[in-house]
């Protein structure tokens, strides 16, 4: 299958540039979520945008429950994109779960990525009382979340988009997120959500060898501050920066701050 069609890949910016920035969106949104961030880097960087299979305008026929029941299928897709487009000198910006996809890809494919930027990412969403880890969700909360998705996906999408987007003074942001969530086939959304929320890749963090920037928002229901601190503490060559916006989507709600954070790390 042609990978450009499969992942709806768009290459823009300075295609002759030495360095490349690959932007990868998180659950429930698509590559357009970076539209307010990308212009700031178009002059000096080759920019690669794509949609993860199951979301956006990626080829829906490429979706396989087996391939995408965990993150490994997305890791392989990312490696395929970078290798088939012969991309080099890459800074990878991964939002939410896609940040973890970048973490795993950097370990599984040494040399594939030069630098990692994790926007609102978490290695585990479920609390782990035994180790004292705070992921932000307990089992009861996750069971409720999946029950709500399965019972009435439409209603869940509206409620979840408001909770995670915050920025109540700009309701159009949550409405836009709800619209992209609702555009996803519910069975795919539930499968992907389970892959994300049951994820535990804490043991991978110490294997990351490339420079990493952890971007944390002021208040994020999906990723509490403890998680960002955990990432910084466990990824060897990492540092953490805060952007002063609420919600799980800083690149949408506060693109200027995210641009500044990325620029400071390039």
């Amino acid at each position: 299958m042609d990978i450009t069609r499969k992942n709806n890949i768009h290459v823009c910016g300075n295609t002759d540039a030495f360095q490349t920035i690959v932007f990868s969106h998180g659950f429930g949104i698509d590559q357009t979520s970076f539209s307010a961030v990308v212009p700031s880097f178009e002059k000096d960087y080759k920019i690669v945008l794509f949609d993860n299979v199951g979301g956006g305008k990626a080829d829906i026929t490429a979706f396989s429950p087996k391939r995408y029941e965990g993150l490994s299928g997305y890791v392989t897709d990312l490696a395929d994109i970078i290798q088939q487009l012969s991309l080099e000198h890459i800074t990878y910006v991964g939002h939410s779960v896609s940040g973890i996809v970048g973490v795993k890809a950097s370990i599984q494919y040494p040399g594939l990525i030069d630098k990692l930027i994790l926007l609102g990412s978490s290695p585990r969403y479920l609390n782990d009382p035994e180790s004292g880890y705070i992921g932000g969700f307990d089992k009861h909360a996750l069971n409720d979340l999946f029950a709500a998705m399965e019972n009435n996906y439409h209603a869940w999408a509206i409620g979840f988009s408001k909770l995670t987007m915050r920025n109540e003074d700009r309701p159009e942001l949550a409405a836009a997120f709800a619209a992209t969530l609702e555009a996803i086939r519910p069975d795919i959304a539930i499968l992907v959500a389970k892959a994300i929320f049951y994820l535990d890749c804490r043991q991978d963090l110490e294997k990351v060898t490339i420079p990493t920037l952890v971007v944390q928002t002021a208040e994020d229901i999906a990723v509490p501050p403890d998680v960002s601190e955990y990432l910084e503490a466990h990824i060897p060559n990492s540092r953490r920066t805060k952007v002063q916006t609420h919600g799980h989507f800083p690149h949408i709600s506060a693109p200027r701050e995210v641009v500044a954070a990325i620029a400071s790390f390039l």
Binding site: S64, K66, R67, G70, S72, T76, D80, Q108, P110
Partner: protein, 281 residues
Amino acid sequence: MITWERKALNFINQTSRWDKDKHISSFLAFSISLVKNLTEADIALQLEFEDENTAKVKNASPVYLDDIVMNPEPIKNILYTQGFQTICWREMPPPSENVFKELLQAFSSAIIIPVDTTPNNSIIILGWSKPQTFESDFLECIETVRLRLKEILLQSQQLLYFQRVAVRFAAILHSIPHALVFINNDGFSGWVNQEAATLLNLSGPGEQLPAVLSDAMTQLRNKAINTEEIYTEAMHLFSSPENAISNWIWKLETPISKTVKVSCIPVTTQQVSGRLWIFEQ
């Protein structure tokens, strides 16, 4: 010195003695780990072709390789060009031709063993850090191992399939609001759902001896106030193994007065012969 022939026999012996009380899913992992030890490989894993988009690493040693997803097409191409025979890489091919480069980083030699277990075919990959010569007696050992691994894979897949089917059907049958009793004609096996276990005062749902079920159903029938009618219908029902009945009314008095509508249907397939009783309360 242990010969390769002896190692092959050792593999068959040890896998035959595998503790069958353990969950079947650990059988293959145990077997692959055993191959790794016997061949002194540095890596051993199963790559299962799950669907046309997914080849997934399983039962890997080291375990951190588990769940890696690979693209099946280039791997299938190389298997096809080699006639689905075991592939021996005494030296690793250049990266452009090495479809397993993500798995076999910094290895010197490898063996790729196709194991045909349609529909979910697999390959077993062994890798060594130091160069290997793969002499003929070693390759004969690998062939023996391949045949035994195929048996193990088939056994594991079939048992897991049967377990899944059993769980699914039990869930469906326990959810039906009617009391269901199945009595096999072999005289040794019977099955009840939760509703039937409650109605017949049995210890629990699931497998029950036919003698226990017959006894419990007799006790239920004896609680009826229309035993004469029931007896007359029963005489007709059991006059031929092909007879069936529905809307058969059992009027019960104790513990509470209620009417139960009973059906009894012969179940005859190539593998199963018995009777299904359905009690609608």
